[in-house]
């Protein structure tokens, strides 16, 4: 019995492949689990009970279950005591050691869920063996659809794959031996004035630092707003793979959570300019419609709730998100009437959906500690499970700082990359008070960075005027650029 915990959309394809290849006499089957990835093992409370029920319905007691799952941080901790076999796709050989003590885990170095399914087909005897090689069909080349608006993301360097010397070569392996062409030799009469001052080499080598250039529209916008985003941010974002999910929750209201989420997303949107990538800002602050509700988002903009409904029922997806003025930022508002949580599996599919369309995701979460007791808390828990980075905003109000510590202590935050965006009071006595500094010291020990943001009434003015916080004050703009740069650096360093 093969259970796919692989991410969408590959999961469906993988299960289709497995089913098609199963030997009919083996009485086996392949199914997609309702919850994928690590969440399948780590679910608690109602979700765990649902999964137990699902398991009883789908996995016969005498079956030999085989789980197919892609590696996630901490996965190995959940495999002890499992009476199933597990086939895990890991990013590199080094990751194999994490699973060494699990005899029932087969570890395959691959980032491709389909390759993992193919491995299972080769490794388990219940699949039909390949017939003797037939002559490959001549003239048919399966070509991909090129997506000019999707980013060509380069994943973290992997060790060279299986020894190419023992594998059959393909045309690309042969061609990859060639480097870029050397620059053409110029005749004397072709020497330009420029070449007298440069090296005359107009060719851009593959190793050169070629950076995305900003397009005409973006440059106009940037000139008008005088918003200059360090190039480093865009470069780092385009190198992150898969697209990171950054969540901004808080224990306490009034600490600038929505402002922080919006500003970070907007900085990324500017940084991406008119590269083919875009960022997304998602409103999941379901308990506080006042914040996003004050924003002038078109009534026709599709909401997260509509998108979730379409994803869960297979209906047509709602219109593309409302695009903010920022060059490359998609806005996903929530239904103002939304009060219910979404199932974790659906949130996982939603995030996967966003990851296929954007290169950076920011989610504004409710002011709740993560657990499964209320809708807002469950939303926090589900997104935290998937988050690559958590930004906890705070002020120097001691109760807000204690709220940060309280958040850091929740089980959902275990092993998470966390930074703090700290709005500093203009009152010197307050910001240097020993209670504040001691709490900050304690927080500082437990997060990757604390970035300061000046307290400014301009933030409120931005809401009142309905303009971007990046446009309203150079001080705030610079501060949120720093927050964003730190976030992106932390993500890049975490790999």
């Amino acid at each position: 019995m093969f259970l796919s915990l692989l991410p969408d959309p590959a999961s469906t394809q993988a299960v289709g492949m497995l089913q098609a290849a199963l030997d009919p006499t083996a009485e086996s089957a392949a199914v997609v689990a309702p919850v994928r990835g690590l969440l399948f093992f780590s679910a608690r409370g109602a979700v765990a009970r649902e999964l137990d029920g699902w398991w009883e319905r789908h996995v016969p007691a005498d079956a030999r279950p085989v789980l197919l799952v892609m590696d996630e941080q901490g996965l190995e901790a959940h495999l002890g005591g499992l009476d199933s076999e597990v086939v895990v796709g890991v990013a590199s050989d080094q990751e194999r050691t994490r699973f060494a003590r699990h005899q029932h885990a087969q570890v395959v170095v691959t980032a491709d869920p389909i390759a993992l399914a193919e491995h299972a087909m080769a490794a388990f005897p219940c699949f039909r063996r390949a017939a003797p090689p037939a002559e490959p069909a001549a003239g048919v080349i399966f070509m991909p659809r090129l997506q000019p608006r999707a980013p060509a993301r380069v994943p973290p360097p992997q060790p060279p794959e299986q020894s190419l010397t023992s594998a059959l070569p393909d045309p690309f392996t042969e061609l990859s031996i060639l480097g870029p062409l050397p620059p053409p030799e110029r005749r004397a009469d072709e020497l330009s004035r420029a070449s007298l001052f440069a090296d005359g080499n107009a060719h851009v080598s593959a190793g050169a630092d070629v950076r995305p250039l900003l397009g005409f529209v973006s440059r106009l916008l940037m000139r008008r707003h005088r918003i200059v985003i360090p190039r480093e941010i865009g470069d780092l974002v385009l190198g992150l793979h898969p697209p990171p999910l950054v969540v901004v929750p808080a224990r306490k209201g009034g600490v600038g959570k929505t402002v922080t989420a919006g500003a970070v997303a907007q900085v990324i949107g500017y940084a991406l300019g008119d590269t083919t990538g875009s960022a997304a800002i998602v409103d999941q602050n379901i308990g506080n419609p006042d914040q996003w509700g004050r924003l002038d988002i078109p009534a026709t903009a599709g909401t997260v709730r509509q998108l979730m409904a379409a994803l869960s029922s297979g209906l047509d997806l709602p219109p593309t998100p409302a695009w903010a003025k920022t060059p490359a930022l998609g806005v996903y508002p929530e239904d103002r009437a939304a009060a219910d949580a979404y199932p974790p599996g659906l949130i996982q599919r939603f995030v996967q959906h966003l990851r296929e369309r954007h290169v950076f995701l920011v989610v504004d979460l409710p002011n709740r500690l993560p657990d499964y007791t209320t809708a807002e808390a469950a939303i926090c828990a589900a997104y935290l499970e998937l988050a690559d980075l958590v930004i906890l905003p705070t002020t120097d109000d001691p109760s807000a700082l204690l709220g940060v510590l309280e958040y850091l202590e929740t089980p959902s935050m275990r092993g998470k990359l966390v930074m703090v965006s700290y709005i500093v009071s203009t009152d010197r006595e307050l910001r240097s008070h020993h209670v504040v500094t001691e709490l900050l010291d304690e927080i500082g020990k437990r997060v990757v960075a604390i970035e300061t943001v000046p307290r400014s009434e301009k933030a409120t003015l931005a809401i009142v005027k309905g303009v971007s916080i990046l446009d309203i004050s150079p001080g705030l703009r610079d501060a949120y650029i720093r927050v964003t740069r730190t976030a992106v650096r932390a993500l890049a360093a975490a790999g």
Partner: protein, 169 residues
């Protein structure tokens, strides 16, 4: 607060830019298809039904993929690839080409400040056979092409496995 106002603003209203992107898209797609056809010695016109994204109509009816490549690739590039192809053909390897269902394409330098460059990333899922040996490929590749500033032809192109730094050969 985030500048989300009452009107939606398109990412790029620049029609000229759209055309440039479309053209680079067409050249990149054509390069991948024609190059593989050339290596496999498939001498057939491009089938519209099979390859609807092959948008170089003036070349579709040409059966020889080398001739098609010659229409939009620099002679120096094709000359560099010739010996690689010749060596490949002597290996007696059969290929059932499959490059997945989607690929990504990033285009840079359309502002004219640097050489236009396109980076396509695709997955090779081809089946490779020699004798009774069969291999199922599953590997991501990055195809980088450098174009003339007027986008009239591809001046250079390289293939490298995804995850290997450019230039790290």
């Amino acid at each position: 607060m985030f500048g989300r106002r009452s009107r939606r603003v398109e990412v790029s209203p620049d029609v000229q830019r759209e055309r440039q992107i479309e053209h680079v898209h067409s050249l990149t797609y054509a390069l991948l298809l024609d190059l593989v056809a050339w290596f496999l010695d498939l001498r057939e016109p491009v089938n519209d039904g099979l390859f609807p994204e092959y948008r170089l109509p003036q070349l579709k009816d040409i059966a020889d993929p080398r001739e098609r490549l010659g229409a939009y690739c620099s002679p120096r590039l094709l000359a560099a690839w010739e010996p690689v192809r010749a060596r490949w053909l002597t290996r007696g390897i059969r290929v059932k080409p499959d490059f997945g269902t989607t690929a990504t394409l990033q285009i840079e330098g359309l502002d004219g400040e640097e050489a236009p460059r396109a980076v396509a990333r695709f997955t090779d899922r081809s089946v490779i056979e020699r004798g009774a040996q069969r291999q199922y490929n599953s590997r991501d590749w990055v195809l980088t092409t450098w174009l003339r500033p007027d986008l009239s032809r591809i001046e250079d192109a390289t293939f490298r496995p995804a995850g290997v730094e450019a230039g790290a050969r």
